[in-house]
Symmetry: C2
Subunit: 297 residues, 2 copies
DNA sequence: TAAAAATACTCCATAGGTATTTTAT
DNA sequence: ATAAAATACCTATGGAGTATTTTTA
């Protein structure tokens, strides 16, 4: 009758590991218990979610579909619990996620002027969780840097800002006043390549394919790696200037698209506080007229 | 740890009945079991969701929040199950909900031409479930008549059509070639007043307040009631002309906004089939250029 | 006193654990 | 033979039932 979210959580672990014993370890339960719960889930659904035959475990089409919807449903259930708990407090709270380098004082003060009874909390995010925090309810709105995985989100564009490259000061290219993204094709990119699609177009150094680099997501870590000569990274200008280091050079790059900053929130929610913050953010951080319609992508 | 959807379902029943014994009856369980489960839910959340004091049961702020999110989460869990089951079938299926009177042959044939491998199923909806069928996964897309409760939906406007009044042929106003909505202020509206906001502006007959009429949602039922002299209703022109009866008069009404028809789907989903159908529907049913951005409201 | 929810108790379904078997390479 | 998942069997938690008590207008 009712879906069992525990089983769904177990399923997602197995789907990600594609290995029952490892998934069981991750879940802190014994492997037989996990096998039984997955079978039970399959019974509940009336559908097999894994092909367990010779050489390993793979998702069936139904399993793929379940994984796609399941992550979001689990996050939604977390969000529901958080919101119910928060609603029990005496003061209304609006939690705003934001990516490093973004100054949102103007937006929060404008919002506070209109909603003096609401307490604004801030939550610093990074590239990996700037959307997650909305989906699982840790934040009500999030100031994100595009591109983002936009399923289920409403977005309101705020502004653009140029992006720059951060190199070790001793790097040969650090002497040049300006450079093109192609010049960096032989260097190691220290972040999610998805965030710098222009770099993907360029030919890759053999090291990338041979030793896939685990991208780091905290700005401070990136800077540390850049300074140590491990490679380079691309950041929005405001972020790069906010975290200043003598051993890291900041250089403008031709052919690098500007970074778009937008306000995001769960499309499934209609809250006056969210609407109010969106207005405040658009009025203070946004450029141009606030006529821009809210676009769901 | 994991939210128990059974408890959530129980909670919603109690929140709607505001009475444990009646809710228990509706759920086909005993009242003590329900009391215990609600207590257990409150323990899980760490928050009280009902005020149970003298004279009755009421929602706390946390309860209100939980009800708001809970309905959608339950529907999402149903949708997830349906989609996983459907994904196990050999042929891909796209289910299209539609309100009566809408002819969607053009859209489905255009879609079928592009996606010959996809089986299109149709699901007739009514005023009460045109959005529900998307949220709980019975349909992938739904051709809806605005206004709709738009939380979590993506909408793509398709076309407008005028609305007309349906009266008993013997009604005095049925003789007039045309009438205004104010002329009907003393008659009983046989449908959800939300669907005809213009009528709400007019003064109401005393009977409305005294004996609130239970609106009916199926077109055939409305026509039956109109013919019997119980009142009048307002329908889009195409619907009114599709269901023709000799004992019911169709009259244009001044001051009645046109009915907007739109394609709706879950904002949280990104599916090529949905995108394909949206294109087909906009190209065949839509008026004007298909540049119209998808707007989440 | 009456109505509504909570408590006491019993029973059973099921999650989880350990030990072991089956299956496919 | 080995690795991976399934099965057997046991224990304990917790959900549901009936009967009863508590609470408050």
């Amino acid at each position: 009758m009712d879906l069992d979210l525990r089983k769904l959580r177990y399923f997602i672990a197995v789907a990600e590991e594609l290995h029952f014993a490892r998934a069981a370890e991750r879940l802190h339960i014994a492997q037989p218990a996990l096998s039984r719960q997955i079978r039970s889930l399959e019974d509940d659904l009336g559908v097999e979610v894994f092909d367990r035959d010779r050489r390993g475990t793979r998702l069936t089409p139904a399993g793929h579909q379940l994984l796609e919807d399941g992550r979001l449903l689990l996050a939604s259930s977390q969000a529901l619990q958080r919101r119910a708990r928060n609603a029990a407090h005496d003061v209304a709270v609006l939690t705003v996620g934001f990516m490093p380098g973004i100054t949102l004082t103007a937006a929060t003060t404008a919002f506070a002027a209109r909603h003096p009874d609401v307490q604004v909390r801030l939550l610093r995010t990074d590239w990996t969780n700037q959307v997650e925090v909305i989906q699982d309810g840790r934040a009500d709105v999030s100031i994100v840097r595009l591109p983002v995985e936009t399923e289920g989100l409403s977005l309101r564009p705020l502004f653009n800002e140029p992006r720059v490259a951060l190199l070790p000061v001793r790097h040969p290219l650090a002497q040049r006043a300006s450079l093109r993204i192609q010049d960096l094709a032989d260097d190691q990119l220290l972040q999610d390549p998805q965030a710098v699609p222009e770099w993907r177009q360029a030919p890759h150094p053999p090291t990338t394919a041979a030793a896939p680099f685990e991208p780091v997501h905290q700005v401070e870590e990136k800077l540390e790696l850049v300074a140590s000569g491990a490679g380079f990274c691309v950041l929005p200008l405001s972020t790069a200037t906010f975290y200043t280091r003598a051993d890291v050079a900041v250089r403008p790059v031709e052919g690098l698209a500007a970074n778009e900053v937008a306000l995001a929130w769960t499309a499934a929610r209609r809250s006056p506080l969210i609407a109010g913050f969106a207005e405040a953010a658009a009025a203070t951080l946004g450029q141009g007229p606030s006529q821009t319609p809210t676009v769901s992508v």
